[in-house]
């Protein structure tokens, strides 16, 4: 039950960006890899096409930068994205906001009949 992907689009809205920024703080990823990690590790099951407009916008906002790399094994060109210093600051801000909101909501949801 706990590993079941979120299916509520309303809850997913807005969380994609936070999860994506968080994912990219470790190392650079390319589109398909990002989708796989979001689905497997964050439980965010989005359509493939969702990721590119989001990455495009984050790149325009200077939160991420990209680079085409030819994959050594398959010889395929892949566009890798990594977080910029501006993106790291934005991630810290969004994490802080999310933790504050989710903490308050958890306390509210776990109240006992008050």
């Amino acid at each position: 039950m706990g590993d079941k992907p979120f299916e509520n689009s309303q809850i997913l809205k807005g969380l994609c960006e936070l999860a994506l920024l968080s994912l990219l703080q470790g190392r650079a990823h390319y589109g398909i890899e990002i989708l796989q990690r979001l689905r497997a590790d964050a439980g965010i099951d989005i359509a493939d096409g969702t990721i590119y407009p989001l990455l495009h916008r984050l790149a325009k906002a200077d939160f991420v930068r990209s680079e085409w790399v030819i994959d050594e094994a398959g010889g395929r060109p892949r566009k890798y994205y990594e977080l910029t210093p501006v993106g790291r600051a934005e991630l810290a801000l969004q994490v802080e906001q999310w933790q504050r909101l989710s903490g308050a909501l958890n306390r509210f949801l776990s109240r006992t009949g008050k």
Binding site: D48, G49, K60
Partner: protein, 195 residues
């Protein structure tokens, strides 16, 4: 473009490229190349064509997400009235908020036009044009018999009209800017092709 790909993939990419037309060439080429690379890899991984394309939806609708974002970034970046107005007008038919903003802007534009018209008319015909009070009530504009009514503003009409024009312009700009920011907040928090 993927010359070796399935005809339906080629057709999808062709339509997608065409729909990205309003985005400048280096940027639209990058978007196309990335989507093409994604399709190539997922198809090579064994996904069937319909399922792979279904993950992106209709090419025109998918391209519109990039085009909309480009217009939004441009309007927010430049804050030019023409670009912000174009954005609100473009979103008006699919966003209640943008439609309401369009209505508020129309009111500001009407106020501006009326004030400008009154100022010009007052300068051309100071005797017959004014804000009149008569037994029939208040009247804004030109009357034939000035002796039958009281001109409430007299020559103050022109400076008052200029003040109204400035307020309408400033108010319209505030409405425009806030509308564009609200559209950005809404659209950027709502990826459009979630499952």
């Amino acid at each position: 473009m993927m010359q070796d790909a399935d005809p339906s993939v080629q057709a999808w990419l062709r339509q997608f490229k065409w729909a990205l037309g309003s985005i400048p060439a280096p940027e639209s080429d990058e978007i196309l190349a990335e989507v093409e690379s994604h399709l190539r890899e997922t198809l090579a991984g064994g996904r069937v064509v319909e399922a792979a394309l279904g993950q992106f939806g209709a090419p025109e609708a998918y391209a519109r997400q990039f085009v909309d974002e480009m217009r939004l970034s441009r309007a927010l970046g430049s804050q030019r009235e023409s670009e912000m107005l174009g954005l609100v007008a473009q979103r008006a038919h699919r966003s209640l908020f943008a439609a309401a903003a369009g209505l508020a802007l129309a009111v500001c534009a009407a106020l501006f036009a009326i004030a400008l018209g009154m100022a010009v008319l007052k300068l051309l015909d100071p005797v017959h044009v004014g804000v009149w009070r008569s037994t029939g009530g208040l009247l804004l504009g030109k009357i034939d018999d000035p002796a039958a009514a009281t001109d409430l503003l007299g020559m103050w009409l022109a400076p008052v009209a200029v003040v109204v024009m400035c307020l309408a312009w400033f108010g319209g700009r505030v409405v425009l800017l806030q509308s564009v920011r609200a559209i950005a907040r809404h659209e950027r928090r709502s990826p459009r092709n979630l499952p």
